[in-house]
Amino acid sequence: MKKLLALLLSVTMLFALAACGGGDDSASTGRTPGDIAADGVLKVGVKTDVPGFGLLDTVDNTYSGIEIDLSYKIAEELGIDKVEFTPVTAATRGQLLDSGDIDMVAATFTITDERKQSWNFTTPYYIDAVSLLVKKDSGIEGIADLADKVIGVSTGSTSMQALIAAAADQEVTLTDDNFSEFATYPEIKAALDSGRVDAFCVDGSILAGYVDDTNHILESVRFSPQEYGLATKKDNTEWAEYLENLITGWLEDGTIAQIVADNGVVASFEAE
């Protein structure tokens, strides 16, 4: 009986601990545009390792890319000039939003119906396609060659599901055993270099940053449009609407197309 009680107590404590960790999200619904303007700082979660989108220059500690320019543009609309960037990964960005550490995520965050259940997304500001990076001497020419290969993907990216679906269309079955999930892109690249994985699968824009003499992107393999949207906390509707209006406006007047071109990124992918 005493033992049981001890166990019960411990489990309760575990729950209590979990509660402490996530205390923020039940407390507030997040900051409104007015709050952010009054505070003078816009907090944005961005990528640090995606050339053209969110890249951190470690020499002078500055960020550059489409998503950085977009963040400054939004800050400008809010009438403030300070943007605080927080590096995020595919695995951390949702939780940082929920905890209130950041106001929005601009980090090649693909919009999906499932994700919409947890966060608000704006209209996509960029549409990418998933592609494959393989070693030149690997002999892999298309999805049909992948059945017995291991593919490196990023934890919490949509690439895995997209590739499984694209492979199914070509009657190739890929299972969990075909995939290795890594926390960061550089790790996948290291795994590709050392032969731990046979292919590196992620959005084309991201892959472009990892091309070198030994590997190439399979030009014939471009599938599953990836729509990048700005993500915000689910119950902060006022802020979500504010951003939605800005993005749709900028898509219409060509502001976003200009930002994309300025950063040397190919125009949005058009699905056939």
């Binding site: 166990l7 575990l14 979990a18 999200d25 695995a91 929920d98 919490g156 890594f182 731990r196």
Partner: protein, 240 residues
């Protein structure tokens, strides 16, 4: 996090994936079990070496302990996973988990064993020697059994750490419990709340019995000690 935990549909999504969690749980168990066996062997061997009179053996044990204690486990795992294939050595992820976690924990265990042996009075060694025990017999029959209750608490700490440290293979996509929880938390519906909570509970289920068992075993050993002491006191009294 709390909000996600209170949403029933997320638990249903999680429940639908339970076989994957079961497979991952078994993988963690497998790595932990073999790594523990390896760590115990290395701990005893290097613990003995570091108390030996041979300077070379002592030196080797020192190098082993210092190397593994003073470099992060993550680097060791990365090295074996990413770098060794260039030398033509490609180990499976489970093997890497067992090897790395085992040798890493072994270093800490050997320190515990060394301290344990060091705490046994010198007279015990001399008495054994005078009775014609060989080195191995002395250690196996006289010294090590006495060290058990001294080193048990730190050893169990290391065992529990070992179980938790197996989650390092998540970094190399090892398919263990933490990896599965991460994958579930960041794919599909991104239900990280239920996923991490269940993951935590499963690790708890692995570690908790271990600490409970150790506590009880330690108590029993101490009790036996008290009884022996009482008997000795009684004998002494009778003599007086």
């Amino acid at each position: 996090m709390i909000k996600q935990i209170s949403e029933l549909w997320r638990w249903q999504v999680l429940w639908a994936d339970w076989p994957k969690f079961a497979v991952a749980f078994l993988k963690t168990l497998e790595i932990a079990f073999f790594a523990l066996a390896l760590a115990l062997c290395l701990g005893v061997i290097f613990g003995l070496m570091s108390t030996s009179h041979n300077r070379l053996l002592r030196g080797i044990a020192r190098v082993y302990v210092e190397f593994f204690q003073n470099t992060p486990l993550a680097i060791q795992v990365f090295f074996v996973f990413f770098a060794l294939p260039y030398a033509g050595i490609t180990l499976s992820k489970v093997t890497i988990g067992i090897l790395c976690v085992g040798t890493y924990t072994g270093a800490y265990m050997s320190e515990a064993v060394r301290a344990g042996i060091g705490s046994i009075p010198k007279g015990q060694f001399e008495a054994a020697q005078s009775q014609g025990f060989t080195y191995i017999q002395t250690m196996a029959l006289i010294i090590l059994p006495q060290t058990i209750k001294i080193i048990l608490p730190p050893m169990v700490n290391q065992m529990v750490n070992l179980v938790k440290n197996t989650s390092i293979v998540t970094m190399i996509a090892g398919g263990d419990l933490m990896y599965r929880a991460n994958a579930f938390a960041t794919n599909g519906t991104m239900s990280y709340g239920p996923s991490y909570l269940v993951c935590g509970i499963l690790y708890f289920i692995l570690c908790f019995p271990l600490t409970r068992w150790a506590r009880r075993y330690e108590d029993r050993l101490k009790q036996r000690d008290v009884q022996t002491n009482l008997e000795i006191e009684k004998m002494e009294e009778e003599l007086v």
